[in-house]
């Protein structure tokens, strides 16, 4: 009873994220952080917790993200336009529809599938209270990415990436720093057309990545690559809108489900 009360207080006060777990392990998982380690949880509460976390995994599109965009929306936002043939990365060839007058065209049928999977994964991470970091080194869209992160209550990094941010975090920022649970790249290249350091570092730290890969990017280390244009402002605005809607939708759903279980618990306690 006391454990249930404490857990409800912790959750409602939004204290999940601020719980700093003092442990030498480099990374903590979002779902583990929700549990206070000292209490022995009551059995019904544990079953409720598990149900909240496992129920969404049984559906292929629990958050109905397929209705957020259509192929026509991607087309109108110029997502299918790639760079010139000379800039093409060899590993992007499976995602190309073809090359028209020296300009690569990305296959939007494939992009739609990849984008749905990526958004679904992002939604599940947000649902479980994970920290999402939006990364882009494209100076033209830095403000847009930052305001997107602010709008959905997550984080953004659009400046110079200092080397040990992920790999040396516990030395640079103190013991027990919580690292992001997901990295979303709106552009996987940095200002000198090399792959962003964070892609390699996230792979080293077992942090999943979602990345918009253009025809000149290397998609191999990105966990959920989304082949698409990363240079046009129209395309970036579409991606930012989609990710913002996804994260907000997932967080709202979590609050809704918890409220539902709280009410159910109250009813049962009354009976």
């Amino acid at each position: 009873m006391a454990a249930r009360l404490v857990r409800r207080v912790v959750r409602s006060a939004g204290l999940e994220r601020s719980l700093v777990l003092v442990c030498p392990v480099s990374r903590t998982y979002g779902s583990v952080a929700a549990r206070a380690p000292q209490m022995a949880p009551a059995k019904e509460v544990q079953a409720d917790d598990e149900k909240i976390l496992t129920e969404p995994l049984k559906h292929s599109d629990f958050f109905h993200l397929a209705e957020l965009f259509t192929l026509k929306d991607l087309f109108d936002a110029r997502v299918h336009l790639g760079h010139k043939r000379g800039c093409r990365h060899r590993l992007m060839e499976p995602y190309l529809y073809g090359c028209r007058l020296e300009q690569d065209i990305l296959d939007l049928e494939r992009t739609v599938e990849h984008l749905q999977v990526a958004l679904n994964f992002t939604a599940h991470v947000a649902y479980r209270g994970g920290i999402i970091l939006f990364v882009s080194r494209n100076r033209q869209h830095a403000h847009l990415v930052e305001s997107t992160a602010r709008a959905c209550g997550e984080y953004a990094h659009t400046r110079y990436w200092h080397g040990g941010l992920l790999t040396n975090g516990h030395v640079q920022y103190g013991l027990g720093t919580r690292l992001p649970d997901l990295l979303v790249f709106f552009s996987t290249l940095n200002t000198v057309f090399q792959q962003h350091v964070a892609i390699r570092d996230a792979a080293k730290m077992n942090i999943p990545t979602v990345g918009i890969v253009d025809s000149d990017c290397n998609p191999s280390l990105v966990t959920y690559p989304v082949p698409g244009n990363d240079d046009s402002p129209a395309a970036l605005e579409l991606y930012c809108r989609l990710f913002r809607l996804t994260v907000n939708r997932a967080k709202d759903k979590r609050r809704q489900v918890e409220l539902l279980y709280q009410l159910k618990g109250k009813d049962e306690a009354r009976q």
């Binding site: 259509t70 192929l71 000379g86 057309f193």
Partner: protein, 185 residues
């Protein structure tokens, strides 16, 4: 050659819509001639109108109108990427060299105008000497495209170096009521 190109996309894009005013006017002509549902006291006229069956273009028009009415509920069918691409202005335009397009200025830095014309990249043009105060953000301009993306392979590099910009020559402002210049989506 340029004149031929300019005429072509207008005709291609118009498609069904250009036929519509013509069909509507024809419908008005038809309705005056052919009668509607025959009333109880108009049997003779009804018989006459039934005997006078439409032929030639009139028959084709009736068929087309029925088909259009049947097609209206099923607008939800998704257009494939291949057909979207084939009908897009970028593909219909062909090679970008010396094509006239409309653009919109979205950013101004002193004398540099950043103009978006619907391609992957924008182009940057110098503000022209005559009427410089007219070129502000949001103004529509005419451009002659030279290249959609400025790239080049330098010695010793294994991939092209790109400037992330298109190349175009600024021709001037868009005069309102100019039907000839083509606009990209």
């Amino acid at each position: 050659m340029a004149a031929l190109y300019k005429a072509m996309p207008v005709r291609f894009e118009a498609g069904r819509s250009s036929l519509r005013p013509f069909l509507l006017s024809f419908r008005r002509l038809c309705s005056s001639g052919v009668s509607e549902e025959p009333g109880p006291g108009q049997t003779a006229e009804a018989v006459q109108s039934e005997e006078r069956k439409p032929s030639g273009f009139a028959a084709a028009f009736e068929l087309h109108r029925d088909l259009q009415q049947k097609q209206k509920p099923s607008v939800k069918t998704r257009e494939s990427f291949a057909s979207l691409l084939r009908r897009s202005p970028l593909v219909q335009m062909g090679p970008a060299k010396d094509k006239i397009v409309l653009g919109k200025i979205f950013h101004v830095v002193e004398d540099d105008l950043y103009i978006d014309f619907g391609g992957k990249f924008h182009c940057v043009c110098k503000r022209p000497a005559g009427e410089p105060e007219k070129y502000q953000r949001g103004v529509r301009v005419r451009l002659r495209l030279l290249d959609l993306e400025l790239t080049s392979r330098f010695l010793g590099a294994h991939t092209d170096t790109t400037l992330l910009e298109a190349d175009a020559v600024l021709l001037g402002l868009v005069e309102s009521g100019d039907p000839k210049a083509k606009e990209q989506s």
